[in-house]
């Protein structure tokens, strides 16, 4: 009985550590994966190319939980820091990533626009997009 409980707890723990979200691009792009640092630089508009393809990062709406998770786990910046960052970038003539209202809209954007890169929940993944990083 105690072994079964132990296995149950182990499975529960494995599930709790599983990735919930994925960074995606469309399947035409010949990129296998990206590091967290590369993704951070892409969404901070410091890195603009992968394999000679001009990148178009796509953020989800600021109100969605996935955006907060992405900012914390990948960008390592809270909203206050990001606001300061983009105010300074505005003076330098650099715009933040485009925004889509829903996670389905992000997926559709990435599927249809070459170079687009976004992030969605794992449960929305399908064969039209390629996973480059999980978090």
């Amino acid at each position: 009985m105690s072994v079964k409980i132990l296995i149950f707890i182990l499975v529960l723990n494995i599930n709790s550590f599983a990735s919930e979200y994925a960074v995606i691009m469309n399947t035409h792009v010949k990129v296998k994966n990206l590091s967290a640092k590369e993704i951070k630089n892409i969404f901070l508009m410091k890195k603009h190319f992968v394999n000679d393809i001009k990148l178009i990062p796509v953020n989800s709406a600021a109100s969605l939980e996935i955006r907060a998770r992405f900012e914390k786990n990948i960008l390592h910046k809270n909203r206050r820091k990001l606001n300061k960052y983009w105010v300074k970038k505005h003076f330098q003539g650099i715009q933040p990533p485009v925004v889509q209202a829903s996670m389905n809209a992000v997926k559709l954007f990435v599927k249809n626009v070459d170079g687009a890169i976004g992030y969605i929940p794992m449960k929305l993944l399908d064969s039209n997009v390629k996973v480059l990083y999980e978090f």
Partner: protein, 330 residues
């Protein structure tokens, strides 16, 4: 059909974009973002009693097809000055070209910029407007040791995949596009700078340069900088040395200057700031050595709105003064 879908997607990205935020500019479309800023300050001391509306500026920038982008900025500064010591006032409403350039991105490692742009040296010079600074005043280092702008060409980018090492190479072989807004009039300027991000909190950088002034001085420059930014603390320092060959007086001189500035954020809106700066100039006609200490307070109800106050202690006490300012970036 695919292009229609793409058009709808981009259109939706504007519709559902995060709503306008102060300091982020107004995005009309991908090719046109508009912004503006101003600053108002009042300085009072034995040597000064002045109200100034400075930096009335508008800027526009955006992305163009084929990896091109641009930025244009017009500024009238000082827009209005009221000098209470002399009982005079002055207005300057004529806009001048502060920045005006075209970028071309070939890769992350190789980008080109053509036009008038901010000299890519250090931290202070790259964020020169009041609202982005943590103090009312600029250190002497940032005003006297190298031209703030370059009218010419720049190559810049990252030297590694991680984007930790950034470089700039720049050159000018002409007059400034708009001579009204250049601290050191020159017609030749070349330089290089490099920055390295050690971690999210710490980065270091260095620069070298050479320029020839209208007053027939040939100046060589070397600069170094480092910054530690880990909320609630921010510490940054920049130092430079110039070697000056005066071709009129047939003499040599040098400048040494720099500052160390620390900031402690009491909370996200309120901060205490302190700076020590040193500047020495051995030119015969301007021979001087300054030690300046500054204590200040910064209040930002939003990051793009800055209300600051500071007191400057100068080694020449006649120059001691208090400054308060309000600045906003739209």
């Amino acid at each position: 059909m695919k292009y229609l879908v793409i058009f709808v997607m981009f259109f939706a990205s504007y519709l559902f974009a995060d709503k306008y935020e102060l300091g982020h500019g107004y995005k009309i479309n991908n090719a046109l973002n508009m912004g503006a800023y101003f600053s108002l300050d009042y300085a009072n001391g034995k040597s000064i009693d002045r109200l100034r509306l400075d930096d009335m500026a508008v800027l526009a920038y955006g992305n163009l097809p084929s990896n091109f982008s641009y930025l244009a900025e017009l500024e009238a500064a000082p827009f209005y000055i009221k000098d209470y010591k002399n009982g005079t006032s002055q207005t300057n409403t004529t806009p001048h070209k502060e920045r005006m350039y075209l970028n071309y991105s070939y890769s992350d490692m190789l980008n080109f910029r053509l036009g008038k742009f901010i000299t890519p040296i250090g931290y202070w010079n790259l964020e020169p407007i009041n609202v982005l600074r943590d103090t009312d005043s600029n250190p002497l280092y940032a005003q006297n040791m190298f031209p703030k702008f370059v009218t010419g060409i720049e190559t810049y980018g990252y030297l590694d995949e991680d984007g930790r090492t950034q470089y700039h190479l720049f050159g000018q072989s002409t007059d400034d596009i708009d001579k009204n807004y250049i601290n050191i009039q020159n017609d030749f300027f070349i330089g290089a700078s490099v920055g390295y991000e050690i971690s999210d909190e710490i980065d270091v950088g260095s620069a070298v340069g050479y320029y020839e002034t209208y007053t027939k001085k040939d100046v060589s420059l070397v600069e170094a900088n480092t910054k530690y930014d880990n909320y609630p603390f921010l510490l940054q320092t920049e130092w430079a040395y110039t070697s000056i060959q005066n071709n009129v007086l047939n003499s040599n001189a040098y400048q040494v200057g720099g500052y160390l500035q620390g900031m402690y954020n009491i909370n996200p809106k309120n901060a205490l700031v302190s700076r020590y700066e040193y500047f020495k100039d051995t030119q015969k006609n301007v021979m001087s050595e300054n030690h300046i200490g500054i204590i200040g307070y910064s209040y930002r109800p939003f990051y793009a709105v800055s209300i600051k106050g500071e007191y400057q202690f100068n080694s020449d006490s006649y120059l001691n003064k208090a400054i308060i300012s309000l600045s906003v970036l739209f």
